[in-house]
Amino acid sequence: MTSHSDSMPNAPPSGAARFVRFVFWRIAQAIPVLALVAVGVFFLLELAEGDAVDAYLAGIGSGDAGFAADLRERYGLGDGVGSRFATYIMRLLVLDFGQSVAFSRDVGSVIMERLPNTLLMMVSAIALSASFGVVLGGLAALRRGGPLDAGITFGALVLNAMPGFWLGLLGIILFAVKLRWLPIGGLSTLDADYGPLGSVLDVARHLILPVTTLALTYLALYMRLMRGAMIDVDNSGWVLAARARGLPARNVVLRHIGRPALLPVVTMIGLQSGTLLGGSIVIETVFSIPGLGALAYEAVNQRDLQLLAGILLAGTLLVVIVNIVVDLAYGLLDPRVRLGAGDAQ
């Protein structure tokens, strides 16, 4: 992903037209990357032994050579690599991700069914880890060199060293098995009717452990980032000026140091979305949450390569979209960056 400073043109403040142009420009920028990923996924599928038809026949348990040839003909799989590639790209262009062998349905619909659960988890985990990271990192920067700073810095190191799935299992051992405060897994209590509000609370209760685990694994990053950014900004001229004008310390910290220091944190949210999605694979598996991550695990286990390829593409698309949204949010935080289109690159 490109950084903001070098790609964002300096345009004057602007209206809706500029906003739309910026969105289009940002999408155009993402197209080569998406195309490369699509090509990469094609070669990954080519690398695998057997094609989709073999997998399908193995899945339904029968089929003679004539039937297989027929299917290959229909899906354009029988010819050379070149024409297979053409078929693959044409199908992607109309958002056809192929058939899932494990689910006997088309990959797109399986993914769309699981996506909301993963999004819910990702958004909650990002909100939790970024907000706690900002507060703790900010505290460490304000008390830099002190015992609190040392504690937070060391805590970040230790958190970073722990595998997410292990942290999740420790949470289960402590809060679900020993204390029995929280459910062991799943997204809602089966066979229960709590009414509309009750079911929302039920889902929230099921999400506490997985979201906290996912957030904890990324907390360290935001703490370190915020701490570093605060220290950088603290050394800048305008902070000195604000202090010299006699502004209250609280004001200086929140407005003059805190706000600009948030910028790298916001950028990192976009850059980390892929890592977070990767992390949710193991977390969803640990907590049996029917999301995209658990789906990837099922695809691997059932050797459903079409589904796995679809998840790779969908995951990449998700990361690209998150980054575009983050870029838009960036303009709100930083008055120096105004949305404008075009001339960069």
Partner: protein, 275 residues
Amino acid sequence: MIAALREFRGAGGVLGGLVLLVIALIAAAASWIAPGDPLNMVARPLTQPFADPRYLLGTDQLGRNVLAGLVHGARVSMSVGAAAAAAAICVGILVGTMAGFSGRRIDNGLMRITEAFQTVPTFLLALALVSVLGASALNVVVAIGISSWPPTARLVRAEVLRLKGADYVDAARLAGRGSLAIAFMEVLPGALQPVVALIGVTVGEAILVESALAFLGLSDPNLVSWGGMIANGRALLRTAPYLVVLPGLAIAIAVLCVTLAGDGLANRLGIVGRR
């Protein structure tokens, strides 16, 4: 106080390095410390830790010695982690040098590819690669290497771009040396120093990815790995939580020490690492 903190970090580096050395020695001497196949049943299933001095950390549901598993697992986790990180760093150095030293067109192309690799969720890519290539130790190394080279490539490229206008590069060019020789023998050595700051993080990350893959069942089934031990103990969270706690502790300690040692090394060399 800042000086004290710095001293603490220096001490952390030394301590991390020492513990890492111990882990490496244990891994190297695994078959001497715990002879025999760690996957063999040796005692009554589910012996609790510290109950039997011969099986200090207990046994799992199949009567396999947990301590022997941890010792042999160290060998797999550490060697796979180190090899994968080495692969990632080598690919990163190669791509970064070529991108930085070549013309604009090649640079643009390589950076687009780097961007594509950074956009695909890293763990998802590693998972897909291992499941396509097959679950062997070598394939895990290849998969982690392929999915985690971009940060190194970006760092090396930036350094090469900075250095390539230097006088000694011009001098080498005037002396009639070829571009490849200049790129890899004149420019690259100078660009390598900041990479040292990335070693610790990259190795730590590789160990974590390896353990997560093993946890999902994507590791060599004939070798013990820490992640695989955790997956195995998952079924018995209620009765034998130590089967999950102990291997995870081993992973966390190993990764922490790798990071501390890497940080310490970078500090010692005077490279400004992570803040």
